[in-house]
Amino acid sequence: MKTRVLEEGQLDLLRNSSGLLYRMKDAQSASKMKGSDNQEKLVYQIIEDAGNKGIWTRDMRFKSNLPLTEVNKILKNLESKKLIKAVKSVAASKKKVYMLYNVQPDRSVTGGAWYSDQDFESEFVEVLNQQCFKFLQSKAEVARDSKQSPMIQRNSSFATSHEVWKYICELGISKVDLSMEDIETILNTLIYDGKVEMTIIAAKEGTVGSVDGQMKLFRGVNPIIQPTGLVKTPCGLCPVFDECHEGGEISPSRCIYMTEWLNF
């Protein structure tokens, strides 16, 4: 009896530590699979199990032990029935992972907010970068002009990541929703640009923007030195510096970069 109900596709067969379990399939999903045979059901189940990360065709083959041609046929079938979809992964552009039609692909596959159609959106990142920096810089300037005691000046030039996130959301330059972590990655790139510094303070749980009892504060800073002396000379920027010798084809006496620089 069990096998008949299984065959008709009304029960799901699952295994747990103690033995086999049977689960009633709800009518809607049962109707979806009507008309498909066992292999397709198997493939569908595997894809379902893969959740939002999707599964690659090769992994699919291993799990289902089906030959490649079969798997491809089934996948095409399912796709035409609009039960699954293929999503290109950002990590390897040739790789395709399959997941259920109505499942949102995971960030690791699409790359999150910074990727749109597998292309890294450099301009978008640049724009966000500049906006965040302007916000922090103007905050720091306001603090400096307020002429209060230095401690207050410094503290008021800080902005929490939450504040920056709100500002960017209100600006409305982003088509997708950005989370606070996204903003924090942008602010980190500003740190690596040497324009911003960060401190972490302890915050009470429940205050706006705190994560695990901490808050990250960001502040615009000035560089500590002017561009160094070496880069003010043509030799500091010369692409053929290593091949330059007195008496050779490239030499200081005949250097065209120096001639241009001297006539500037």
């Binding site: 230095p150 030195i225 160094t228 002396g229 070496l230 006496s253």
Partner: protein
């Protein structure tokens, strides 16, 4: 002593002392310590003696007992660092000018040109020069020059040369070069500080005023000296014979280092913080050894008392500034205790490290662009990163990030570290991590700086040589003009002489002067980078020893 340093030393020696000294100097630099006979193998011994004299007077060469023991001939060794210091002379003179005005500037300039001098001769020469530049009828008192000289000695910018000491073994060879310091048998040459009279100004009997030299005559006109002195101008003794003075380069270097730290604090924080740091550094000028990694601990009370008068900030505000300085990620100032209102030190080594790192970052930024600079800073912060992590943190698309990393690697700014997972080091099973080694990169950039300065000097000499004919002509014309003016000629004659130089030639001369000035100032700018990187490398070497 690298090839670039040797090339630069040769160029500097040639420019300042001539070709013979350059030959001897570079030979000594390349071959290490040698005795007189070996050096003289390719030049006449008279020339060798004179050159060694010149080098020793400037402290670029020293002699010591031969390696084979007391009986062997004296060996001479050239000092690369001292010769490279010639590059920094303009900076020393400029610093003296800002601190002690024209008198100080001229004292330092005369001493740098002559190496060692007695106090009386310096004073007389400087007074004469100052008087020469003043209007007619005014002259400068010797006492004024003496007071500036004493101030320079007090602040340790000038020091006595170590006196000639008796070498212990009786069979010692007498030094063949007169008037230079001798070295004891056992160790290297003594530092000037090891003599207690190092900074003691001798009491000299110097009375008089500067003398104005009339052009065209060598006779010095007196203005108030006695008849006896006028008859025997060269025989004045002032009681300080044998006491020679030299410029204390270490002190100038400390001053430059302090200036750089103060300006970094000013640009990072604000003016008041930099004034506080300046006060702290000034207070620890004499108490801290030059090679310390941080200054002596100063209490907040002391700092408050020593702040300059025009910076009247209240005590709580000062405490706030000090706390801010301590909390700053750059760690210029550190807190070591709580007694006396808080004990604070200036972290010299950390400051130098941060400044060197900023220099490296600025070089990468100017040469490769701001995105490569972002990758470089990222690697400096996070030490070791994989390819994928670099792309993610820096938010740069994979293709471009790869390209930039490979460019940086080809310039040896970024290194690749392999971490195998399996003993067979298979490439598919190894981690490849990118990393930046700050000290090695700083050393490499230092060599690049030396090469850049040598290139600039080469170019300057080349341009001068090209326009030699033109320069000679202009010099002749100037000499003719000067003599005509002195003997009172009419304006028509002067204009006639002036017209001997045609307009395009004048323009050429003008542009040549402009080029030479630009190259000169570029040399000074690269020297600033050299100073910073060298201080960082030396400080790190001291810490790790």
């Amino acid at each position: 002593m690298t090839a670039q340093e040797a090339r630069l030393c040769g160029l500097l020696l040639r420019e300042h002392f001539g070709e013979v000294v350059e030959k001897i100097g570079t030979h000594l630099l390349r071959s290490g310590a040698q005795n007189l006979r070996t050096i003289a193998s390719f030049l006449s011994i008279f020339q060798v003696k004179k050159s060694l004299c010149v080098l020793m007077k400037h402290g670029a060469c020293r002699f010591s007992i031969g390696r084979k023991g007391p009986g062997s001939p004296v060996e001479y060794q050239a000092s690369c660092e001292r010769i490279l210091g010639i590059l920094r002379y303009p900076r020393y003179i400029y610093t003296a000018k800002t601190l002690y005005s024209d008198t100080g500037e001229l004292i330092i300039e005369e001493l740098l040109q002559r190496g060692h001098m007695t106090m009386s001769s310096i004073v007389k020469m400087v007074a004469d020069r100052l008087t020469h530049n003043m209007e007619e009828g005014r002259s400068i008192e010797y006492n004024e020059v003496v007071s500036t000289f004493s101030k320079l000695v007090e602040t340790h910018f000038l020091q006595r040369c170590p006196p000639v000491s008796e070498v212990v073994p009786p069979v010692s060879t007498a030094p063949t070069v007169p008037g230079a310091p001798a070295a004891p048998v056992s160790t290297g040459p003594p530092t000037p500080e090891s003599f207690s009279d190092c900074y003691l100004v001798p009491s000299v009997s110097l009375a008089g005023r500067g003398k104005r030299r009339r052009s065209g005559e060598d006779v010095v006109l007196d203005q108030g000296t006695t008849k006896k002195n006028r008859l025997k101008p060269g025989k004045l003794t002032h009681g300080d014979e044998g006491i020679y003075w030299q410029v204390n380069f270490e002190r100038f270097h400390l001053h430059f280092r302090d200036q750089t730290i103060i300006s970094a604090v000013a640009s990072k924080l604000d003016q008041t913080s930099s004034e506080i740091v300046r006060t702290m550094l000034r207070m620890s000028e004499v108490t801290t050894t030059p090679s310390a990694s941080c200054t002596q601990a100063l209490s907040a009370n002391e700092v408050f008392r020593s702040l300059p008068a025009n910076y009247s900030i209240s005590r709580p505000i000062l405490d706030q500034y000090l706390t801010l300085l301590v909390d700053d990620p750059m760690e210029f100032v550190g807190k070591t205790g709580d007694s006396g209102g808080g004990m604070y030190v200036v972290n010299l080594h950390k400051a130098l490290t941060n400044l060197a790192r900023a220099t490296l970052e600025s070089v990468v930024q100017e040469k490769f662009g701001s995105r490569s600079a972002r990758i470089f800073r990222l690697l400096l912060r996070k030490r070791h990163l994989e390819q994928k992590q670099v792309e993610d943190f820096a938010m740069i698309p994979a293709k471009e990030a790869k390209d930039m990393l490979y460019t940086l690697m080809s310039e040896n700014l970024v290194l690749l570290q392999e971490l195998p997972k399996t003993p067979d080091h298979a490439p598919s099973r190894t981690f490849y991590l990118y990393t930046v080694n700050q000290l090695a990169t700083a050393r490499m950039l230092l060599q690049h700086c030396y090469k850049a300065v040598a290139n600039l000097i080469d170019r300057r000499l080349f341009q001068t040589k090209e326009s030699k004919r033109l320069l000679e002509k202009s010099q002749r014309i100037e000499a003719i003009m000067a003599s005509l003016q002195a003997s009172g000629a009419e304006p028509e004659q002067l204009t006639e002489v002036e017209e001997m130089i045609s307009a395009p030639e004048k323009q050429q001369l003008e542009s040549l002067r402009h080029h030479i000035n630009k190259l000169d100032s570029a040399e000074n700018q690269v020297d600033e980078t050299i100073f910073l990187l060298k201080s960082y490398v030396a400080s790190t070497a001291r810490i790790t020893r």
